[in-house]
Amino acid sequence: MRALPGKASRQPAGPQPVSRTGAAADQRRRILEATADLVADHGYQGTKIETIVRRAKVGYATFYKNFDDKQQAYLTLLDTAYELTARRVQQAYDREDEWPDQVAAGLGALFEQIGEHPNVARACLVEALTAGPEAVARHEATLKRFVPLLKPGRKLNPRRAELPDTLEDTLTGGVLWVINQRLIAGEAEALRALLPETIEFVLRPYVGEDRAAHEAQLAASS
Protein backbone atom coordinates (compact mmCIF):
# COMPACT_ATOMS: atom_id res chain seq x y z
CA MET A 1 0.00 0.00 0.00
CA ARG A 2 1.39 3.38 -0.93
CA ALA A 3 0.97 6.65 0.87
CA LEU A 4 0.18 8.65 -2.21
CA PRO A 5 -1.12 7.82 -5.68
CA GLY A 6 1.12 8.16 -8.73
CA LYS A 7 4.22 6.36 -9.90
CA ALA A 8 5.94 4.32 -7.23
CA SER A 9 9.35 5.82 -7.95
CA ARG A 10 11.07 8.14 -10.36
CA GLN A 11 11.38 6.82 -13.89
CA PRO A 12 14.61 4.91 -14.34
CA ALA A 13 17.20 6.63 -16.51
CA GLY A 14 17.57 5.74 -20.17
CA PRO A 15 15.36 6.01 -23.19
CA GLN A 16 11.88 4.70 -22.70
CA PRO A 17 8.46 5.82 -23.66
CA VAL A 18 6.98 7.87 -20.84
CA SER A 19 3.49 9.17 -21.30
CA ARG A 20 3.01 12.86 -20.67
CA THR A 21 0.19 12.23 -18.21
CA GLY A 22 2.32 9.67 -16.36
CA ALA A 23 5.16 12.15 -15.98
CA ALA A 24 2.76 14.86 -14.81
CA ALA A 25 1.24 12.54 -12.19
CA ASP A 26 4.74 11.64 -11.06
CA GLN A 27 5.65 15.31 -10.59
CA ARG A 28 2.50 15.93 -8.63
CA ARG A 29 3.18 12.95 -6.40
CA ARG A 30 6.76 14.12 -5.81
CA ILE A 31 5.50 17.55 -4.75
CA LEU A 32 3.10 15.97 -2.26
CA GLU A 33 5.79 13.63 -0.90
CA ALA A 34 8.23 16.52 -0.50
CA THR A 35 5.50 18.52 1.28
CA ALA A 36 4.91 15.59 3.66
CA ASP A 37 8.63 15.15 4.43
CA LEU A 38 9.21 18.86 5.02
CA VAL A 39 6.10 19.44 7.11
CA ALA A 40 6.99 16.36 9.19
CA ASP A 41 10.46 17.83 9.86
CA HIS A 42 9.80 21.57 10.07
CA GLY A 43 6.07 21.95 10.71
CA TYR A 44 3.59 23.53 8.33
CA GLN A 45 4.57 27.12 9.08
CA GLY A 46 8.26 26.30 8.73
CA THR A 47 7.81 24.80 5.26
CA LYS A 48 8.34 27.04 2.22
CA ILE A 49 7.51 26.48 -1.45
CA GLU A 50 11.18 27.10 -2.20
CA THR A 51 12.23 24.01 -0.22
CA ILE A 52 9.32 21.94 -1.55
CA VAL A 53 10.32 22.46 -5.19
CA ARG A 54 13.98 21.81 -4.41
CA ARG A 55 13.22 18.58 -2.60
CA ALA A 56 10.67 17.44 -5.20
CA LYS A 57 13.17 18.30 -7.98
CA VAL A 58 10.58 20.26 -9.95
CA GLY A 59 10.51 23.90 -11.07
CA TYR A 60 8.34 26.65 -9.63
CA ALA A 61 6.27 26.58 -12.85
CA THR A 62 5.46 22.91 -12.27
CA PHE A 63 4.50 23.61 -8.67
CA TYR A 64 2.16 26.44 -9.66
CA LYS A 65 0.71 24.38 -12.53
CA ASN A 66 -0.43 21.87 -9.90
CA PHE A 67 -1.21 24.05 -6.90
CA ASP A 68 -2.12 27.67 -6.19
CA ASP A 69 0.04 27.89 -3.08
CA LYS A 70 1.57 25.94 -0.19
CA GLN A 71 -1.75 25.65 1.57
CA GLN A 72 -3.42 24.02 -1.41
CA ALA A 73 -0.58 21.52 -1.76
CA TYR A 74 -0.80 20.68 1.94
CA LEU A 75 -4.60 20.37 1.92
CA THR A 76 -4.32 18.08 -1.10
CA LEU A 77 -1.82 15.98 0.83
CA LEU A 78 -4.27 15.79 3.74
CA ASP A 79 -7.21 14.84 1.51
CA THR A 80 -5.21 12.18 -0.32
CA ALA A 81 -3.60 10.60 2.73
CA TYR A 82 -6.74 10.72 4.87
CA GLU A 83 -8.79 9.15 2.09
CA LEU A 84 -6.31 6.33 1.42
CA THR A 85 -5.96 5.56 5.12
CA ALA A 86 -9.67 5.64 5.84
CA ARG A 87 -10.30 3.35 2.85
CA ARG A 88 -7.64 0.89 3.98
CA VAL A 89 -9.11 0.79 7.49
CA GLN A 90 -12.61 0.34 6.11
CA GLN A 91 -11.52 -2.54 3.86
CA ALA A 92 -9.88 -4.37 6.77
CA TYR A 93 -12.97 -3.72 8.91
CA ASP A 94 -15.33 -5.01 6.21
CA ARG A 95 -13.44 -8.28 5.80
CA GLU A 96 -14.41 -9.40 9.33
CA ASP A 97 -17.84 -10.55 10.50
CA GLU A 98 -17.90 -9.92 14.24
CA TRP A 99 -17.71 -6.32 15.43
CA PRO A 100 -14.79 -6.80 17.89
CA ASP A 101 -12.79 -8.49 15.10
CA GLN A 102 -13.71 -5.67 12.74
CA VAL A 103 -12.33 -3.07 15.15
CA ALA A 104 -9.18 -5.10 15.77
CA ALA A 105 -8.61 -5.48 12.02
CA GLY A 106 -9.26 -1.79 11.37
CA LEU A 107 -6.81 -0.71 14.05
CA GLY A 108 -4.25 -3.17 12.70
CA ALA A 109 -4.59 -1.67 9.22
CA LEU A 110 -4.31 1.86 10.61
CA PHE A 111 -1.11 1.09 12.54
CA GLU A 112 0.38 -0.66 9.50
CA GLN A 113 -0.35 2.27 7.21
CA ILE A 114 1.24 4.69 9.67
CA GLY A 115 4.24 2.43 10.28
CA GLU A 116 4.85 2.32 6.52
CA HIS A 117 4.53 6.10 6.03
CA PRO A 118 5.58 7.84 9.22
CA ASN A 119 6.37 11.18 7.57
CA VAL A 120 3.01 11.42 5.85
CA ALA A 121 1.35 10.42 9.13
CA ARG A 122 3.27 13.00 11.12
CA ALA A 123 2.55 15.74 8.57
CA CYS A 124 -1.16 14.88 8.51
CA LEU A 125 -1.85 14.01 12.16
CA VAL A 126 0.58 15.91 14.38
CA GLU A 127 1.03 19.07 12.31
CA ALA A 128 -2.51 19.49 10.95
CA LEU A 129 -3.78 21.28 14.06
CA THR A 130 -1.38 24.18 13.54
CA ALA A 131 -1.90 24.55 9.80
CA GLY A 132 -4.97 26.79 9.86
CA PRO A 133 -8.74 26.33 10.15
CA GLU A 134 -9.21 24.37 6.92
CA ALA A 135 -6.62 21.79 7.92
CA VAL A 136 -8.14 21.57 11.40
CA ALA A 137 -11.59 21.01 9.85
CA ARG A 138 -10.30 18.22 7.60
CA HIS A 139 -8.47 16.57 10.50
CA GLU A 140 -11.62 16.68 12.60
CA ALA A 141 -13.81 15.39 9.74
CA THR A 142 -11.44 12.47 9.25
CA LEU A 143 -11.51 11.52 12.92
CA LYS A 144 -15.31 11.66 12.74
CA ARG A 145 -15.23 9.01 10.01
CA PHE A 146 -14.17 6.47 12.63
CA VAL A 147 -17.18 7.15 14.84
CA PRO A 148 -19.64 5.05 12.76
CA LEU A 149 -17.17 2.14 12.85
CA LEU A 150 -17.27 2.16 16.66
CA LYS A 151 -20.95 2.97 17.25
CA PRO A 152 -22.26 -0.55 16.43
CA GLY A 153 -20.37 -1.73 19.53
CA ARG A 154 -23.04 -0.04 21.63
CA LYS A 155 -25.47 -2.80 20.66
CA LEU A 156 -23.22 -5.29 22.47
CA ASN A 157 -23.44 -3.36 25.74
CA PRO A 158 -26.44 -4.04 28.00
CA ARG A 159 -25.90 -0.59 29.56
CA ARG A 160 -25.85 1.10 26.15
CA ALA A 161 -28.38 3.77 27.15
CA GLU A 162 -25.94 5.09 29.75
CA LEU A 163 -22.82 5.29 27.58
CA PRO A 164 -21.66 8.92 27.18
CA ASP A 165 -22.38 10.58 23.83
CA THR A 166 -18.71 11.51 23.51
CA LEU A 167 -17.42 7.93 23.96
CA GLU A 168 -16.46 7.40 20.31
CA ASP A 169 -14.78 10.81 20.07
CA THR A 170 -12.86 10.09 23.25
CA LEU A 171 -11.69 6.66 22.10
CA THR A 172 -10.67 8.07 18.72
CA GLY A 173 -8.70 10.69 20.67
CA GLY A 174 -6.99 7.97 22.71
CA VAL A 175 -5.89 6.09 19.60
CA LEU A 176 -4.69 9.36 18.05
CA TRP A 177 -2.72 10.12 21.22
CA VAL A 178 -0.95 6.76 21.15
CA ILE A 179 -0.10 7.28 17.47
CA ASN A 180 1.00 10.90 17.81
CA GLN A 181 3.27 10.25 20.78
CA ARG A 182 5.10 7.57 18.83
CA LEU A 183 5.32 9.80 15.72
CA ILE A 184 6.69 12.73 17.74
CA ALA A 185 9.25 10.40 19.33
CA GLY A 186 10.22 9.16 15.85
CA GLU A 187 9.22 5.61 16.79
CA ALA A 188 6.42 4.76 14.38
CA GLU A 189 7.72 1.18 14.24
CA ALA A 190 6.90 0.78 17.97
CA LEU A 191 3.18 1.10 17.19
CA ARG A 192 2.96 -2.55 16.22
CA ALA A 193 3.79 -3.68 19.75
CA LEU A 194 1.12 -1.34 21.14
CA LEU A 195 -1.65 -2.80 18.96
CA PRO A 196 -3.03 -5.41 21.43
CA GLU A 197 -3.36 -2.91 24.28
CA THR A 198 -4.90 -0.34 21.99
CA ILE A 199 -7.48 -2.88 20.81
CA GLU A 200 -8.31 -3.68 24.43
CA PHE A 201 -8.59 0.04 25.26
CA VAL A 202 -11.07 0.66 22.43
CA LEU A 203 -13.20 -2.46 22.97
CA ARG A 204 -13.45 -2.39 26.78
CA PRO A 205 -16.24 0.21 27.14
CA TYR A 206 -18.44 -1.78 24.74
CA VAL A 207 -17.82 -5.45 25.43
CA GLY A 208 -16.41 -5.38 28.97
CA GLU A 209 -12.87 -6.07 30.02
CA ASP A 210 -12.82 -9.86 29.71
CA ARG A 211 -13.86 -9.95 26.09
CA ALA A 212 -11.63 -6.96 25.31
CA ALA A 213 -8.63 -8.72 26.88
CA HIS A 214 -9.43 -11.84 24.86
CA GLU A 215 -9.37 -9.86 21.61
CA ALA A 216 -6.08 -8.28 22.64
CA GLN A 217 -4.58 -11.73 23.18
CA LEU A 218 -5.74 -12.83 19.74
CA ALA A 219 -4.05 -9.78 18.22
CA ALA A 220 -0.87 -10.39 20.21
CA SER A 221 -0.58 -13.96 19.01
CA SER A 222 -1.33 -13.28 15.33
Binding site: L129, E197, E209
Partner: protein, 218 residues
Protein backbone atom coordinates in the same frame (compact mmCIF):
# COMPACT_ATOMS: atom_id res chain seq x y z
CA UNK B 1 -1.14 35.21 35.73
CA UNK B 2 0.40 35.40 32.33
CA UNK B 3 -2.79 36.40 30.57
CA UNK B 4 -3.24 39.71 32.35
CA UNK B 5 -3.11 42.84 30.25
CA UNK B 6 -0.20 44.86 31.50
CA UNK B 7 0.29 48.55 30.85
CA UNK B 8 3.76 50.01 30.35
CA UNK B 9 5.90 50.45 33.44
CA UNK B 10 5.81 54.06 34.62
CA UNK B 11 8.99 55.86 33.63
CA UNK B 12 11.43 57.43 36.06
CA UNK B 13 11.40 56.85 39.80
CA UNK B 14 8.82 54.13 40.40
CA UNK B 15 10.23 52.72 43.60
CA UNK B 16 10.96 49.24 42.16
CA UNK B 17 14.38 47.70 42.61
CA UNK B 18 16.36 46.59 39.57
CA UNK B 19 15.49 42.93 40.38
CA UNK B 20 11.80 43.73 40.63
CA UNK B 21 11.83 45.47 37.27
CA UNK B 22 13.69 42.56 35.69
CA UNK B 23 11.23 40.06 37.15
CA UNK B 24 8.34 42.20 35.98
CA UNK B 25 9.80 42.39 32.46
CA UNK B 26 10.14 38.64 32.29
CA UNK B 27 6.49 38.21 33.29
CA UNK B 28 5.44 40.81 30.75
CA UNK B 29 7.33 38.97 28.02
CA UNK B 30 5.63 35.71 28.96
CA UNK B 31 2.24 37.43 28.89
CA UNK B 32 3.19 39.13 25.62
CA UNK B 33 4.09 35.81 24.07
CA UNK B 34 0.76 34.30 25.13
CA UNK B 35 -1.11 37.21 23.55
CA UNK B 36 0.98 37.17 20.36
CA UNK B 37 0.76 33.38 19.95
CA UNK B 38 -3.02 33.48 20.41
CA UNK B 39 -3.21 35.98 17.57
CA UNK B 40 -0.63 34.64 15.11
CA UNK B 41 0.12 31.03 16.06
CA UNK B 42 3.51 29.94 17.39
CA UNK B 43 5.24 29.39 14.09
CA UNK B 44 4.24 32.72 12.57
CA UNK B 45 4.82 34.77 15.69
CA UNK B 46 7.87 37.09 15.58
CA UNK B 47 9.97 38.74 18.27
CA UNK B 48 8.43 42.04 17.20
CA UNK B 49 4.94 40.70 17.94
CA UNK B 50 6.06 39.52 21.37
CA UNK B 51 8.01 42.64 22.40
CA UNK B 52 5.21 44.89 21.15
CA UNK B 53 2.58 42.99 23.12
CA UNK B 54 4.86 43.09 26.18
CA UNK B 55 5.78 46.76 25.63
CA UNK B 56 9.50 46.08 26.13
CA UNK B 57 12.51 46.36 23.84
CA UNK B 58 14.24 43.57 21.91
CA UNK B 59 17.27 44.09 24.12
CA UNK B 60 15.14 43.27 27.16
CA UNK B 61 13.81 40.20 25.38
CA UNK B 62 17.34 38.90 24.82
CA UNK B 63 18.33 39.68 28.41
CA UNK B 64 15.58 37.27 29.49
CA UNK B 65 15.36 34.63 26.77
CA UNK B 66 17.75 33.37 24.16
CA UNK B 67 15.01 32.55 21.65
CA UNK B 68 11.31 32.52 20.89
CA UNK B 69 11.28 28.84 21.85
CA UNK B 70 12.80 29.58 25.28
CA UNK B 71 10.14 32.21 25.91
CA UNK B 72 7.38 29.80 24.83
CA UNK B 73 8.79 27.14 27.13
CA UNK B 74 8.73 29.61 30.05
CA UNK B 75 5.11 30.53 29.25
CA UNK B 76 4.16 26.86 29.01
CA UNK B 77 5.81 26.19 32.39
CA UNK B 78 3.99 29.11 34.03
CA UNK B 79 0.60 27.82 32.85
CA UNK B 80 1.33 24.21 33.79
CA UNK B 81 2.54 25.27 37.24
CA UNK B 82 -0.64 27.27 37.74
CA UNK B 83 -2.80 24.27 36.76
CA UNK B 84 -0.70 22.06 39.04
CA UNK B 85 -1.43 24.38 42.00
CA UNK B 86 -5.16 24.50 41.22
CA UNK B 87 -5.31 20.71 41.02
CA UNK B 88 -3.26 20.17 44.19
CA UNK B 89 -5.56 22.42 46.16
CA UNK B 90 -8.76 20.80 44.88
CA UNK B 91 -7.45 17.26 45.27
CA UNK B 92 -6.36 17.94 48.85
CA UNK B 93 -9.95 18.65 49.83
CA UNK B 94 -11.40 15.45 48.31
CA UNK B 95 -12.30 12.53 50.63
CA UNK B 96 -11.23 9.52 48.53
CA UNK B 97 -9.54 8.45 45.30
CA UNK B 98 -12.57 8.69 42.98
CA UNK B 99 -13.34 12.20 44.20
CA UNK B 100 -9.70 13.23 43.90
CA UNK B 101 -9.78 12.14 40.26
CA UNK B 102 -13.03 14.03 39.68
CA UNK B 103 -11.67 17.16 41.39
CA UNK B 104 -8.56 17.13 39.20
CA UNK B 105 -10.62 16.77 36.02
CA UNK B 106 -12.97 19.55 37.13
CA UNK B 107 -10.12 22.00 37.83
CA UNK B 108 -8.31 21.36 34.56
CA UNK B 109 -11.46 21.67 32.46
CA UNK B 110 -12.63 24.80 34.29
CA UNK B 111 -9.25 26.48 33.86
CA UNK B 112 -9.01 25.66 30.15
CA UNK B 113 -12.59 26.84 29.59
CA UNK B 114 -11.94 30.16 31.33
CA UNK B 115 -8.60 30.82 29.57
CA UNK B 116 -9.06 29.86 25.91
CA UNK B 117 -5.83 31.58 24.77
CA UNK B 118 -3.74 29.74 27.34
CA UNK B 119 -5.60 26.52 26.56
CA UNK B 120 -4.58 26.98 22.95
CA UNK B 121 -0.98 27.74 23.89
CA UNK B 122 -0.70 24.61 26.02
CA UNK B 123 -2.72 22.11 24.01
CA UNK B 124 -2.46 23.19 20.37
CA UNK B 125 0.51 25.49 19.77
CA UNK B 126 2.78 23.39 21.96
CA UNK B 127 2.48 20.64 19.35
CA UNK B 128 4.35 22.68 16.75
CA UNK B 129 6.80 24.57 18.99
CA UNK B 130 9.72 22.23 18.57
CA UNK B 131 11.05 19.10 20.29
CA UNK B 132 11.87 20.72 23.67
CA UNK B 133 8.28 21.93 24.08
CA UNK B 134 6.87 18.64 22.81
CA UNK B 135 8.93 16.81 25.44
CA UNK B 136 7.80 19.22 28.17
CA UNK B 137 4.17 18.75 27.10
CA UNK B 138 4.54 15.01 27.22
CA UNK B 139 6.12 15.20 30.70
CA UNK B 140 3.31 17.44 31.96
CA UNK B 141 0.67 14.99 30.74
CA UNK B 142 2.61 12.01 32.11
CA UNK B 143 2.51 13.61 35.58
CA UNK B 144 -1.13 12.59 35.68
CA UNK B 145 -0.31 8.90 35.25
CA UNK B 146 0.85 7.99 38.80
CA UNK B 147 -2.17 9.53 40.61
CA UNK B 148 -4.49 7.76 38.17
CA UNK B 149 -2.62 4.47 38.64
CA UNK B 150 -3.57 4.57 42.31
CA UNK B 151 -7.08 3.74 41.08
CA UNK B 152 -5.82 0.20 40.43
CA UNK B 153 -6.14 -0.35 44.17
CA UNK B 154 -9.90 0.20 43.81
CA UNK B 155 -10.37 -2.60 41.32
CA UNK B 156 -12.49 -5.63 42.19
CA UNK B 157 -11.27 -7.74 39.23
CA UNK B 158 -8.09 -9.75 39.73
CA UNK B 159 -6.66 -9.48 36.24
CA UNK B 160 -4.43 -6.40 36.01
CA UNK B 161 -5.24 -3.65 33.54
CA UNK B 162 -2.89 -3.30 30.55
CA UNK B 163 0.21 -1.28 31.39
CA UNK B 164 -0.72 1.58 29.03
CA UNK B 165 -4.26 2.06 30.41
CA UNK B 166 -3.49 5.33 32.19
CA UNK B 167 -1.49 6.72 29.28
CA UNK B 168 -4.28 5.94 26.80
CA UNK B 169 -6.99 7.26 29.10
CA UNK B 170 -5.26 10.57 29.78
CA UNK B 171 -4.19 10.82 26.16
CA UNK B 172 -7.78 10.28 25.00
CA UNK B 173 -9.01 13.15 27.16
CA UNK B 174 -6.10 15.47 26.32
CA UNK B 175 -6.58 14.73 22.67
CA UNK B 176 -10.34 15.35 22.80
CA UNK B 177 -9.78 18.59 24.72
CA UNK B 178 -7.12 19.70 22.21
CA UNK B 179 -9.51 19.13 19.32
CA UNK B 180 -12.20 21.20 21.05
CA UNK B 181 -9.71 24.01 21.66
CA UNK B 182 -8.37 23.91 18.09
CA UNK B 183 -11.97 24.13 16.85
CA UNK B 184 -12.52 27.25 18.96
CA UNK B 185 -14.80 25.46 21.44
CA UNK B 186 -12.66 25.84 24.57
CA UNK B 187 -15.43 27.64 26.44
CA UNK B 188 -17.60 24.50 26.33
CA UNK B 189 -14.96 22.20 27.85
CA UNK B 190 -16.43 22.41 31.35
CA UNK B 191 -19.59 20.71 30.01
CA UNK B 192 -17.54 17.57 29.39
CA UNK B 193 -16.93 16.86 33.10
CA UNK B 194 -19.57 14.09 33.44
CA UNK B 195 -18.30 12.28 30.34
CA UNK B 196 -14.66 12.69 31.41
CA UNK B 197 -15.52 11.40 34.88
CA UNK B 198 -17.17 8.26 33.58
CA UNK B 199 -14.32 7.58 31.17
CA UNK B 200 -11.62 8.07 33.81
CA UNK B 201 -13.26 6.00 36.55
CA UNK B 202 -14.73 3.15 34.53
CA UNK B 203 -11.62 0.91 34.29
CA UNK B 204 -11.14 1.12 38.06
CA UNK B 205 -14.65 1.20 39.56
CA UNK B 206 -16.58 -0.57 36.83
CA UNK B 207 -19.02 1.10 34.45
CA UNK B 208 -22.04 1.27 36.77
CA UNK B 209 -20.30 3.01 39.67
CA UNK B 210 -18.40 5.31 37.27
CA UNK B 211 -21.66 6.35 35.69
CA UNK B 212 -23.27 7.00 39.08
CA UNK B 213 -20.41 9.30 40.14
CA UNK B 214 -20.41 10.98 36.73
CA UNK B 215 -24.08 11.78 37.12
CA UNK B 216 -23.35 13.50 40.43
CA UNK B 217 -20.95 15.94 38.72
CA UNK B 218 -23.52 17.17 36.21
Amino acid sequence: MAEEELGPLPAGRHGFSREQVAHNQRERLIAGLATAVAEHGYNAVTLTHITKAAAVSRRVFYENFESKEACFLAAFDVVVEHIRELVAEAVGAAPDWPHRAIAAAREVLAFLASEPDLARLCLVESQSAGPAVAARFHDAVRELVPPLERGRGERAAERPLPATTEDSTIGALVSLASRKVAAGEAARLADLLPDFTEFILSPYLGPAEAERLARQTA
